[in-house]
Structures are given as C-alpha cells and as structure tokens.
C-alpha cells in the first residue's frame, strides 16, 4: 500500500523520498547536456533494452531482498536457463530456473543455510551445469527464444515490453498478494512473522523459486538478443541486479523495497553505462564510476534513514 500512499504527495516530496528517481533525472539531464546524442529515440530505446535483462533479474532479486535474503546465483541460473532453452525449448529453461530457485529455497529453509552460502553454491553449480550441457560451446537459440530479443515493430523492442510486463507483475505480487505481504513481514521481522502464523519456511521456497524464474526469463531475453546462449553469459550479473535493488532504495536488512525503485535502479545503471560510452570514457574508468555511484546511492539512503 506504500506505493498508493505516495501518490497523494506533491511531486517534490515524492522525489525527496525517492532519491534514486531524483538521481536518475539528474543523470539524464547531465548526460543529455554533455552529449545531446543521448536523447535520440534510438539511443533511449537502446538504454531500455540494455536495462531489460538486469531489470528482470533485479525484480526477482527484489522479492528476495525484501524478504531479508540475497540471491547470488541469478547470473548462473540465467545462463543455465538460456542454455537449456537453446538446447531444448524456451519453457524448459524457465522450469529449470524455477527449480534451481526451489533448491536454493530448500537449502535456506530446511537446511538452515545462510542465503549467502546456499546461493553462492548454486552460483557455482548452475554455471558448471551450463558448461557441462553446452560442452563449453555457445549454442544458437530457436526462433521462439530469438523472438524474445527482437523488435516487435521497427520502433518497439520486445525486451523493453517484457521489462515493463515483469515490472507490473512484481508490483502486483509485492503489494496485492499474500505472498508479497508475507515477504515484507518476513524481511521486517522474521520472528514476528513466525509468531503471526506465517509459514516462513514455505514462503521462502516460493520466494527463491520466483527469483530463479525471473533470472531464467532474463537469461532467455539475453540469449534472444544475441540469438545465442553462451556458457559464460550473464557472468557477474547478480552483482548488477543487487546493485539495482539497492540503488532503488531496498534495504539489505529486509522489509523495505519496491518494484518502482528497482526499475529506477536498473535504469540508473543502464543510463550510466550508455552515457559513459557516449562520452567516450575508457571502459576501465567506467567501472570505477559505476562503483562510486553504487556507494553514493547506498550512502545517501543510509543518511536519509538516520
């Protein structure tokens, strides 16, 4: 209900409470001034496509982070799902992704492993399985998967639409379903959730399964864009996904986070990368800048909360 509550506020207050959105606007204006080519329709669509994969992954991560956990395996799951999708069919990739998430959830809920450890193990296992089934080679994707990465019409890229679709689903799950409400309760105070009769362990199964499913979808979109699933695809994307969630104002200690924030977070990362390229900043320095921005976003958020 928090998203609704905010609509009543004046835009200025809305921006003050959504530091990431304010940051995104500042970033867009600054880059547009420095390099007007940024604002062309084609380039903006590019930014959207670039953001899509990380955003979809980050939406799944939002569930996990709101529930007080972390999922380091999403990059590897994306690669495994894309590879399974390329070798068989797209839907099989989604199933495999959700299954990997279920295993994460089972290790965390019933094996009582810390999420960091359970998903770190899955990061390695899923990547290894990707290499095993692909024999280390990239594989072409079929027409269905390739379609996911294509342009629906000459002007509207499908990845962009998929990102918005997943954004809507995430918002609905978080604010309008019992599962979403339970995520906030578990992340905010797991003990209170348990004492209120919430089956915390079963909820965590679903939460990590959702994260796996979203990662698989992101992996398929990525493979569709390249018309190929690579064994090393999406390596390190989990960190971008976490960064997007954190830039979006979610708290890694749980209980706080919104779909809009994560969307903005993913857009900040994409705009930054795109802008730095347009400004011809050397790639080595780009990493430094992006890291600094992540630290800055988290710092501002922590100051605001104090």
């Amino acid at each position: 209900m928090t998203a609704i509550g905010n609509r009543k506020h004046a835009p200025k207050k809305y921006l003050a409470e959504n530091g990431a959105l304010a940051g995104l606007l500042v970033l867009v204006v600054a880059i547009a001034v420095a390099q007007p080519a940024f604002l062309t329709a084609q380039n903006l669509l590019n930014v959207g496509v670039q953001a899509a994969v990380i955003a979809i992954m980050a939406f799944g991560m939002t569930f996990v982070v709101v529930a007080g956990g972390i999922d380091l395996s999403v990059g590897s799951i994306a690669a495994l799902a894309a590879m399974v999708g390329a070798l068989t069919a797209g839907p099989a990739g989604l199933v495999v992704g959700a299954l990997c998430g279920l295993v994460n959830g089972a290790l965390i809920s019933y094996g009582k492993l810390p999420p960091f450890i359970a998903t770190l193990a899955m990061l390695s296992v899923a990547r290894g399985l990707t290499l095993v089934i692909s024999e280390g080679q990239p594989h072409e994707t079929d027409a269905v998967v390739t379609f996911l990465g294509s342009n629906l019409t000459p002007v509207v890229p499908l990845p962009l639409l998929l990102m918005l679709l997943f954004f809507g689903v995430t918002g609905l799950v978080l604010t309008r379903t019992n599962l979403g409400r339970r995520m906030y309760a578990i992340g905010g105070n797991e003990e209170a959730a348990k004492l209120s009769g919430i089956d915390v362990r079963r909820q965590k199964l679903w939460i990590y399964a959702l994260s796996g499913l979203f990662a698989a979808a992101a992996g398929l979109v990525l493979a569709g864009r390249l018309a190929s699933a690579g064994p090393q695809a999406a390596a390190g994307y989990e960190l971008d996904a976490i960064a997007a969630v954190v830039i979006g104002g979610a708290s890694l200690s749980g209980g706080v986070g919104r779909a809009t924030g994560t969307l903005v977070g993913a857009l900040v990362l994409a705009v930054l990368r795109n802008g730095l390229n347009l400004l011809q900043v050397p790639p080595f320095w780009q990493q430094v800048v992006i890291g600094a921005v992540i630290a800055l976003a988290a710092l501002l958020d922590s100051l605001r909360r104090r």
């Binding site: 928090t2 019992n178 409400r181 906030y184 105070n189 004492l195 009769g197 089956d199 209980g255």
Partner: protein, 469 residues
C-alpha cells in the same frame, strides 16, 4: 568509613516513564550492598547509571573507585583461552606480538584470587557457566576495580556454585572491595548482605540492615496497595478452552498443568527465568516440548505448529514487542492484518484502530507510535483473528498507565464474550488484580496456585521458594 561511591538524587526518564526517581546510594569499602526490588523497579537502570552507560537526568555520582559490572550475559570470548580472556585487550606483548608464555605465567595468580583451578590454556567455551563468571570477576579485580557490581549472578548457578560465589564475595569484602549484589533470592540476601537498598517504582523505599526478615523485605518490595487500577470484571467460568497437561521440556520447565476456562483470566506469576514464557511459547507451538499435551477447546493440538495453534483458536502476544510482536518496517495496517492476510477487507483495519483507540492511522509506520499504542496494535492483530484463548506475555511492559487500563478493558471484553486469557506477567499487582486464579511458577515448576485477590507476599513467597532439584 568513607564511601567508595556516593550517588545522590539519581533520576532517569525513558520517554514518559520515570525509571529512577531521586535515588540515593552509598557504597562503602568492605560491604555487600544488595539492591532489591521487583522486575522493573529500576535496579538495572541504577546499575547502568552507576556504570556510566546511561547519564542521569538529575543527581550526582561521586567517588574515585573504579567500577566493574558483571552482567548476566557474560562478556567473554568463547573461542579464546582463559588466559587470553583474562588479559583481553591488554595482553602482554613481546616484540610487538602477544606474549602467550607471559600471559600463561600471570594467569594463575589471578585465578587464585577467585579460587578457580582451571588450565589457563583451556578454551572458555569448554568451561561451566560458574567458572566463566569467576573468570570475569578475576578480570575485573585485576583492573583494580574497587567496586564490583554483580547483576543477578546466581540466577544461572546451581546451589553449590552459589555457595562458592558467596564465599568468594565474603573474601573480597574482607579485602576491602565494595560489592553491589542484585538477586531475587532472599535466602542469599540473608546470608551475605550488610545493607539492603529496596527499590520500588524507581524510588528507594528503604535501606535495611543485616538480619532482616524475608517478610519485611517482601513487604517493602511490593508494598503498594492494590487499588482500582485493575478493573477486572469476573465471569462465571465455562468449559475448559485451554488445557496444558503435564508439559515438560528438559532444562526449561517440568510437569506444568494449567487449565483456562471460558470467561476466565488465569495469571502466571514468577520471577524472570522461572519458565513462564517458555511454557507460553511451547503451548502456542513456537517451541517444542518433550512430554505432555496441549488441548484447545477439547481438541488436542499438534506440537510445534503455530499454524495449527492459530487455527484451533490460540493467539500469543509475545513479551518482546519490538523483537517478536511487530514488523517495525511496516505500517500499522500491515501489522494488523498479519494474522488474517487472507481477508481483503481493509475496513476492518480502520475499525480496529478506532476500537482500540490507537493514536495513529492505518497508513502510519508503526515505529512512530508510542509503546502503549504499539502494544494495542499487536493485540489488535489477534483480536481480528478472534481467538478463543489469547496468551498475553508481559502485555503492559513499558506501557503507560492510561494504555494499561485500556488493555485491561480489552481483556474484560474478551472474557465477557466467553473467550479466555492466559496472562503471564511480572507485574505483581497486575497479575493479582486481573487474574481469576494465579499460577505461580518457580524454577520451571508450578510452585502453587492462588485464588484471585491473593496478597503479593503470598505470591512472592511461592515465587522465591527454593525447590531442591
């Protein structure tokens, strides 16, 4: 005799509650000074003010003696050795590295002072709790603490260990150390105290000498008349709604049988650590138990299954409001709907906020509310689920007087509707005033049962009784 520490007029507020109100305290060299009082009387706050953890709002503390506090939760590093713990943060060094041989050589002299015979190389985690306590005392003494404050050290000790600790305390007293001793065990006080300062509601209500009777101590400690702060409207009890039978869990509670009937409020009184909360949690299915059974309205309840307990008609308002009762990151409404998430009707949330007279709105973050209003939210969460039996664990702790009475009215309303309440409370006037029967627990057992309107010293006499284990 000159005082090591002289405290005058110490006053300390926490929000609207006055934890300490003009307390005077002198600690002399070579005395055991007992602080006595009910839970919440201000003993811990006084200790924290003396130790400099809290600054007083008013009053002065004078004295040159350095002071060490031995808390119930020990400040030792379990993975390090006895010697390393003794010299923690000030280990002898040689060439910039820790000189273990030197630490090992110096350790026995310290251990001897507290009569402890352990290997300085042993890991602290392998020692018993009593031995760990001694190590902490030895460490404090080595820092030349002139005043040693022991905060309920015997609560975790066996009888023999307690005897040993009292011996060492007597020895330290002989060496001119000033000891402040907090304990609920009146027999220990009679054995060792030189002076007893009795605290009640944040005030010092008397300083007693040695040889005082337990009866006199209890009277001073609880000495407030029960007035109409407790508007209990008694009902004629109906069928049993909650039956806890012969419930046992090793190390926590033993053979607990409590029955709560429709329209009844049954209180569980006892000291902190008597096992009251443990029984409440086990009955509600949060924790497991070894033996016994729990029935709700005649139907046996699956053990260790909170969902089943809620479905059967149980509810639990836990003792730790912020740690266990509330999701502090969420709004009032999100907290209220926590037990009844399936119900999409938002109107009931607004109704409950109105009915409970919560000073706040459904959309407001719950952490902005005062303690009393937060507690009403936790209770409201359960009222929305309409339980047959509500277990209240310390429901008015840290709650102001006005909200307290409102919570009592809710209890009356529940029982008037044929529901039942199990009330765990350390607030003696409350548990006596609001309960139709009071079960007193001590050392994990039922020490006795008293009818409503029993006196506070009757309850205390049962609560402090020693059961030979």
């Amino acid at each position: 005799m000159n005082a090591l520490i002289t405290a005058r007029g110490i006053t300390k507020h926490f929000g609207p509650t006055k934890a300490l109100d003009g307390v005077d305290l002198d600690i002399f060299a070579g005395e055991v000074h007992v602080l006595l009082g009910e839970n919440g009387a201000g003993k811990s706050t006084l200790v924290k003010v003396l130790a400099g953890i809290h600054g007083p709002d008013a009053g002065t503390i004078e004295g040159s003696a350095s002071l060490a506090v031995i808390h119930q939760e020990l400040a030792l590093v379990p993975e390090l050795s006895v010697a390393e713990n003794l010299f923690l943060n000030r280990l002898p060094r040689r060439f910039g590295f820790v000189d273990r041989a030197e630490a090992r050589r110096r350790a026995p002299r310290l251990l001897e002072r507290v009569g402890l015979d352990v290997d300085p190389d042993a890991k602290v985690k392998d020692l018993g709790i009593a031995q760990q306590q001694m190590i902490e005392i030895a460490r404090a003494l080595d820092k030349d603490a002139g005043v040693l404050i022991l905060d309920e050290p015997t609560a975790v000790l066996t009888d023999t260990e307690t005897d040993r600790l009292l011996e060492i305390m007597a020895q330290l007293r002989g060496n001119g150390v000033g000891l402040v001793f907090i304990t609920h065990h009146l027999d220990e006080i009679q054995r060792i105290a030189d002076r007893i300062t009795v605290l009640r509601d944040g005030r010092s209500v008397g300083v007693l000498g040695p040889g005082v009777s337990t009866r006199h101590m209890i009277e001073l400690m609880v000495g407030r008349p029960i007035d109409e702060q407790y508007p209990r409207a008694r009902q004629r009890p109906g069928r049993p709604l909650l039956s806890i039978s012969h419930l046992s869990r090793r190390g926590a509670f033993h053979d607990i049988t409590i029955e709560v009937r429709a329209g009844e409020v049954v209180g569980i009184a006892g000291l902190v650590g008597a096992g009251r909360t443990e029984v409440a949690r086990a009955a509600f299915g949060v924790d497991d138990y070894d033996e016994g059974s729990v029935e709700v309205d005649g139907k046996p309840l699956r053990r260790n299954d909170v969902q089943a307990a809620i479905k059967a008609g149980l509810g639990l308002v836990p003792e730790d409001r912020k740690g266990q009762g509330l999701v502090l990151t969420a709004t009032v409404g999100q907290n209220l709907e926590l037990v009844t998430l399936g119900n999409r009707d938002r109107e009931r949330l607004h109704d409950m906020v109105g009915k409970l007279r919560v000073k706040g709105s459904v959309e407001q973050p719950v952490k902005e509310l005062s303690g009393g209003n937060q507690q009403k939210v936790v209770i409201g969460k359960w009222l929305l689920a309409d339980p047959k039996v509500l277990i209240l664990d310390e429901p008015t702790r840290g709650v102001d007087v006005g909200a307290k009475v409102e919570i009592y009215e809710l209890v009356n309303r529940m029982t008037a509707q044929g529901r039942a309440v199990l009330l765990v409370s350390s607030d003696l006037p409350e548990v006596i005033g609001m309960s139709d029967r009071v079960v007193v627990m001590a050392h994990g057992r039922v020490a006795g049962e008293l009818p409503g309107g029993a006196t506070q010293d009757q309850v205390m006499a049962l609560a402090v009784q020693e059961i030979s284990a």
